[in-house]
Point group: C2
Chain length 428, copies 2
């Protein structure tokens, strides 16, 4: 965080008329609204599932807008789209930025789309201003960030980064049995470029926060210093289903009572870490799920997150031991399957510093934060220097048709992205 004196002076700048804007907020907003019409839902949201006709429409429009902005568009074998603007120095690797155009089944207008179209606006502004950067720029639309259709989030960026083999991605299927490969070919986006990391200088991604912190604290931009680590489980509690009326307390093996106490445990463990911890039971299935039958089996998910690996480790050890003890006391069996662990992913300090300096120059109030969600930037950060910029979204609501931001908030984020990208690309 900048020092107080500097912040105060910056605030003064911010109160002055904004004559130094280098991006066109209205053009950005119009592009967002036009894109949102592709796959628009009746409740004001977007349904643009990866590799569907709606996704194709989004991609076609993106390609058209890129070509209108004089960018050369390449598509790789997993459908990632790269739009290149040459720099003055052909020897330099490009500064990459962007996000994704696919959406959740009942998603919003801004998750992903903002990062891509703000990136486009950066390039349009550079065109308007006649600025050529030292390093080339590349704007990217990563394939299938949401994972809603084929079950693998960050598919395109994971293949690009080497975390997911291309053939494994191709073999994934949707509920109808359609493979990723067939779906890519179906919409004409299985490109000719190799789907693998090429030399890149750095990666920047603007995204809505998808949480309430910035709004609550009236900060206009989040400086994302990294992503949380997480550990995820499936739990199965097995007791004995029995008649709710004729089974006395001493004879009960109520799987739901045990599961309920574990839900409470997860919440208490989270709160013991203050605002830094996350612990969630999001999914639960009760069997036989009948009003007058004591539940004999409950299946549920558990998700812990923290930005410190040591704390994730402690959560794991503590949870496993305490949950088992709850099950023992309830006289039921508990089967805990650890599905996956993702280590915390810090972003590149130099890239993060560029974002912070950009916001500071623009007089925008910021807050450092850790991303609770995984993003394409987190996936590629294992290979290349990366950073993210968050802007608030209304009520922290996302993955929801009611997802909402103000034009001025999109503009804030785009301005910071512009400054950070151009600074990086202008480095001597």
């Amino acid at each position: 965080m900048p020092g107080t004196a500097k912040r105060l002076s910056l605030n003064r700048v911010d109160m002055a008329p904004r004559t130094h804007h280098r991006i066109n907020g209205q053009r950005l907003w119009d592009s967002l609204m036009e894109l949102a019409a592709l796959g628009a839902t009746s409740k004001g949201g977007v349904r643009r599932l990866a590799l569907t006709e709606a996704d194709r429409a989004g991609r076609d429009r993106f390609r058209l807008l890129c070509e209108q902005a004089k960018l050369a568009v390449r598509v790789d074998a997993i459908g990632n789209m790269f739009a290149r603007r040459e720099g003055r120095d052909p020897a330099r690797s490009p500064v990459l930025f962007g996000s994704h155009l696919d959406s959740q089944p009942s998603g919003g207008k801004f998750d992903g789309a903002l990062g891509v179209l703000a990136g486009l606006e950066v390039i349009r502004s550079l065109n308007d201003l006649g600025i050529t950067t030292e390093a080339p720029l590349e704007l990217v639309n990563w394939t299938d960030e949401e994972g809603s259709r084929f079950g693998r989030s960050m598919m395109g960026s994971a293949v690009w980064s080497g975390a997911l083999p291309l053939e494994s991605a191709y073999a994934l299927t949707d509920r109808e049995g359609v493979t990723v490969r067939a779906a890519l070919e179906g919409i004409g986006y299985r490109g000719s470029e190799k789907a693998e990391a090429f030399p890149v200088d750095s990666y920047f991604e603007l995204h809505i926060e998808q949480g309430p912190i910035l709004e609550q604290e009236s900060k206009r931009v989040g400086i994302v210093t990294g992503a949380q680590g997480m550990v995820s489980y499936d739990a199965v509690v097995v007791g004995q289903d029995a008649h709710a009326g004729s089974t006395p307390p001493s004879a009960r093996k109520d799987a739901l009572v045990c599961a309920a106490r574990i839900v409470d445990l997860v919440d208490r463990m989270m709160r013991a870490r203050d605002e830094e911890g996350r612990g969630t039971v999001g999914q639960m299935l009760v069997l036989p799920n009948s009003r007058n039958v004591i539940p004999g089996e409950v299946r549920f998910s558990i998700d812990f997150r923290h930005f410190k690996q040591a704390e994730v480790d402690r959560l794991e050890a503590e949870f496993s031991s305490d949950a088992k003890s709850i099950a023992r006391n309830c006289g039921v069996s508990l089967d805990l399957l650890r599905l996956f662990r993702i280590p915390p992913q810090p972003f590149d300090p130099d890239c993060v510093a560029l974002v912070r300096e950009a916001a500071s120059r623009l007089g925008i109030e910021t807050r450092d934060m850790v991303s609770g969600a995984i993003h394409d930037a987190v996936e590629v950060a294992s290979r290349i220097p990366a950073a993210m910029i968050f802007i608030p979204c209304k009520g922290g609501l996302s993955h929801n048709e009611a997802e909402s931001i103000l034009p001025s908030q999109a503009e804030d984020g785009c301005r910071v992205l512009f400054e950070a990208v151009v600074s990086r690309a202008m480095r001597p």
Copy 2:
């Protein structure tokens, strides 16, 4: 409970060879197994949903067996079947006994069927012994006790008792929209008799306990003194669904954490009543039910039971207040809908005494108990003197294909039923 001295002497009788049996246990068991073949499931259970073809097959066989036992069978307008054996005194009202032949979707061989076929065995034995009782006897198969298909348990006995108007019962529909009236006509069991209580001396019903108490305490027969009262709710907790990673503890309105604490409350309130209380959350639906989304809404059922009305009242007051306080502390809203209250239903002391004396004469170890489940006997007990006899079932398991009893246990119950019914029908 009989005094200790008496119990000891009875135990002595029980150790003596059983030379005084008046029913044929093997015949009863064979009838049970033959009936279980109608609607048999692959896992050894029974699926004989009310007013289906399987139910028709069960009814047809029951009618045939009754006619073979020289009983005249009448069917009333709701499908209740009454099989009459005349007594010596035509002026007296009949002693009624029986149960139901319909089953749960994945039910067992004995729930209901035992009471009907043990009743048939009582009559067959009287035929064998050439005994004519003073009062007439009537054996009944009540229509749709389980309520699994049309959603109304005790349908036939409720119509008969006057608790449910016939036209209301006729208008009930199954999931395919088939009405009770059409289903009755479809299987040919909309009878010509009026579906209403006729003069009856008393009602006796033998049933499996559907709970574990008799088995745990090694008692062969339960003297059922009445049925628990109950109060049943639907609860809806509304919080706010939000991203599991990006929503910090202070911003969460997790509906499932609140619901979980209410599940725990229900269990603690039950246990505070020792072995007499019942408190169950059997049904729960979590929304949106996604691994990385904090649940925004949870819908669940709550069911409290106790044999004392004052305790049901206290459970109600305490629960409503404590659950609301939990919701307040979780920052979510709680909507509690009380679906119904059923007052405790004591059985007739004279009828209960007859059952107790019967078991005592036979040297069968008993235990007084309150029925946790509602049965046809509970429904009719509001109109006529009634009592029930329980026998143990394996592990207390019922409403389950694994429901299991021993032939000797069926015989125990049938002998007590015989003694109680005949004593009552022989009263001067």
